[in-house]
Symmetry: C2
Subunit: 332 residues, 2 copies
Amino acid sequence: VAYRTIADDGNAVIILDQTLLPDAAVERRLTSLDDASNAIRIMQVRGAPLIGASAAYGVALGLQAAADDAALEHALTTLAATRPTAVNLHWALDRMRRVLAPLPAAARLEAAWREARAIAAEDAAANAAIGRHGLPLLEEIAKRRAVVNVMTHCNAGWLATVAHGTALAPIYAAHAKGIKLHVWVSETRPRNQGRLTAWELADAGVPHTLIADNAAGLLMMQSKVDLLIVGADRIAANGDTANKIGTYLKALAAQAHGVPFYVAAPRSTIDFACPNGAAIPIEERSSAEFGDAGTDTPVANPAFDVTPAALIRGIVTECGVIAPNDLQAIRP
Amino acid sequence: VAYRTIADDGNAVIILDQTLLPDAAVERRLTSLDDASNAIRIMQVRGAPLIGASAAYGVALGLQAAADDAALEHALTTLAATRPTAVNLHWALDRMRRVLAPLPAAARLEAAWREARAIAAEDAAANAAIGRHGLPLLEEIAKRRAVVNVMTHCNAGWLATVAHGTALAPIYAAHAKGIKLHVWVSETRPRNQGRLTAWELADAGVPHTLIADNAAGLLMMQSKVDLLIVGADRIAANGDTANKIGTYLKALAAQAHGVPFYVAAPRSTIDFACPNGAAIPIEERSSAEFGDAGTDTPVANPAFDVTPAALIRGIVTECGVIAPNDLQAIRP
């Protein structure tokens, strides 16, 4: 793959503008705090891990003109207000604050770039590990199935991260090992992130089929799905998981048909301070995401839902596959 | 409402072209068997009850030039091949055959128009009765809720029938009685029939909100849905119900949250010869329904799914609200 979701040249942050994908792959240079917060808000960058890295880079951009306490606080506050659900945003900003606040202002800019790069590099490494830890789930199914049929939701591929992806990392790992796969790609209304997943999978040569979100239940009833893997935007301490709206419906269907349902996410997506799913804020986005319909009829557009821990077989992290009720074991 | 879904002037059948709604309300004159079969196939007319009436009218159109046995057989066969899932199509064609086949050719054309009009009139009457029988379900909830929140899927309003609608008939009946209602309208990808429902409800002054299909689970988890009512394309003898793809996911969520789930359909939608849901043919439609995405990526587009009888609280018919395991009681 020729593109990276995010990179920097020491002065600017270069992103792949995901609002134009899959029709066009256009890179944008972000040079200010406003550029970065806007990119997160309008989803030029998206996916919980990538939102985290983008926010870290946004702090560096915000300190370029001045790096005093007021500038640091302004950067952190502005970025924190972009999107409410993905906890990686706050995780990354908390980490930037912890590193930068104690430093003299003159040392902060260089330290901000360094820490943002570290966050990005660690995300890539964590996701590679998620691929390794998730691979056996697919290998196990491959022992009894000529083709392993995986279903996912939204985009939790490399586009949603700094590299490798979360839910798609084990799929890429299995594909690289020659396991025969087919991926059911859910359209993911209203933003159609499934088209990003189809674009990624086509590029990687992984067989896949796009479906309406509505089709997930029928396909499971017809025994056409061996495994469900999705990403996450925030995992509560008890394992309840917020992910893209529609994930919960797939989890219910998976339970009804005995299809194993896994969440894949780096540990930075686990909010150990959040007791359960009811405490996770659910972002309400613009009716404009429904196109014309959003202008002439009342629209509700919650962007995430919560899948109860009881429906989740395991959470694939860089620390291994963890039972949702056992997350304390990997608390940092 | 100024429009009718279907009518005739003795020479032609006049339909409201639903492929142009809600953007434009355009009537079309169908003057041949090919016009009628094409209108059903490309969904200028849609909804199981309306498909049945349209097929009946299509037989009349097919007999205008000649009404010998060959012409009758050709009309019945051509119309039967248009869409596989909605059983009302076959029910109406069987009825036309029973009436027309014994008649001399010279008497068939007039009898065909007469029988098609009878089928249409009976559909309107059946749906009015569905409204009356379903009304108490909403009245019951209104006793304990200031606003009754109903969720539906696809379009099972007057647009899907000759008049009154099926799932929306009780909603219109309750609205007429002054019960405060709000309807969650699911977009219904990939064809967006939810926009037809929003258009109908806006026209009738019924408060409603358009949502992504994906949002149904979250709204039920948040206790924002008091009742689910959907239409049906074919109900098997055991109560298993084929309806627009995505219905099953809503039924699973309704079960998980104790939300009563009802199907509303005239008796002509019950296929007493079909033992269960597994025997219902599921139509696969064109990838073109996904727009651009359908041209550059593999697409699967099953148009219906099957909701098991166990998830259905009752089936609202013109004979009353029937338990899904008690359909034999209303077998004609």
